[in-house]
């Protein structure tokens, strides 16, 4: 495997982008970073799909001035990726509007805090005690405890 082989370079770009994107989704806690990770993953997947029929020496699938090239790139994955990119921007817009909505509803974009507030909301609505988590909530400050709920469940 030669490092200066064009196939190796292009494929490692696609796989690298996908790995970095998945890493961002898995490791980050901030909702914006997760959206960034999704966009990176999508970019890598698009490149990989396009490369699936890449052949060195082929020319672009366009006839210019009636000259038909001897070998043309496969137009089908190109059309698929074209579609995927446009759908990707629709998904991105949807994700961003949902993020704005989360910010308005919970006042934060940190997924740990959002999850905590969601759990509190659910347990308050159901009238049960907060389920205790094995993981201690680290450095997110004072958590307002719903005292009414605790009294009810304690009695």
């Amino acid at each position: 495997m030669d490092i200066l082989d064009i196939n190796t370079i292009l494929y490692s770009a696609a796989f690298g982008l996908m790995l970095i994107g998945i890493g961002g989704i898995v490791i980050s806690n901030h909702l914006m970073r997760i959206i960034f990770g999704i966009v990176l993953l999508e970019a890598g997947a698009n490149l990989l799909l396009l490369l699936s029929t890449y052949h060195e020496g082929a020319s672009a699938p366009i006839i210019v001035d009636g000259n038909v090239p001897a070998m043309m790139a496969d137009p089908v994955p190109q059309a698929l990726v074209l579609t995927a990119i446009v759908i990707g921007v629709g998904i991105l817009a949807l994700a961003l509007s949902l993020a704005i909505r989360v910010q308005r509803a919970y006042g934060t974009l940190d997924m740990r805090e959002v999850r905590l507030k969601l759990e509190q909301e659910i347990s308050a609505a159901a009238g049960i005690d907060m389920p205790s988590s094995s993981e201690k909530p680290a450095d997110i400050g004072e958590v307002p405890v719903n005292s009414v709920v605790q009294q009810e469940s304690g009695s």
């Binding site: 494929y11 790995l19 998945i22 490791i27 029929t53 366009i62 043309m72 949807l94 509007s97």
Partner: protein
Amino acid sequence: MRRFTAALFLLGLGVMIAAIYQHIDFGNTSVNAGQAINAVAAQETGAANFVTSVVLAYRGIDTLLELTILFTAAMIGGMVLGRRRADAPRDPDAGFILRTGADLLFPLLLVVGLYIILHGHLTPGGGFQGGVILASAFFLPLLARPGITLIDQRIVSLVEGLAGATFILIGLLAMFDGKEFLTPLLDKGELGALISAGSLPILYLAVGIKVGSELAGLLAHLAEAEALD
């Protein structure tokens, strides 16, 4: 702890991908549809750009569904963001440079966008790329002067609906002729001429206008949403 498991997961994923990577047969796929299309597309559709003939002729229904997805995303985005309150503070006006630049660029962007759409069957480009440029052309004045109503949302919806209806109507016309849905119609013309490839340029124009109006409406919605800070 969570970070450690995540890193371990990524490491495993990387090893797995590297293992797959060793066995990929570069460039020699068993899919032959592309070569078959390359061989006959010029005669069958009359478009010099084969990607255009795949997008609009061979996979036309896919494009229609894609437009539906984009429409749904734009619509839900508008629904989720909601209306702004009347007393919400507006962004400050942009400076002199951006305002003048927006005025100068607006006609240029319109021309470039339409050029890219109308030459979609000859050169790289087409409805999606040109539609995005059209959307940014209509969004630029909104960025320079926040608060003006350059584009009425109702007119945007009307244009978008008409463009979508045109796309479906052309597809149905082929069915009246006894062919399959979205079969290219009209005279093929000379390969490489601006007026050629039958109904494909009209379809791409409809796609471009639909994508442009959808994205312009979405951008206007996002710009209208109230700022938090």
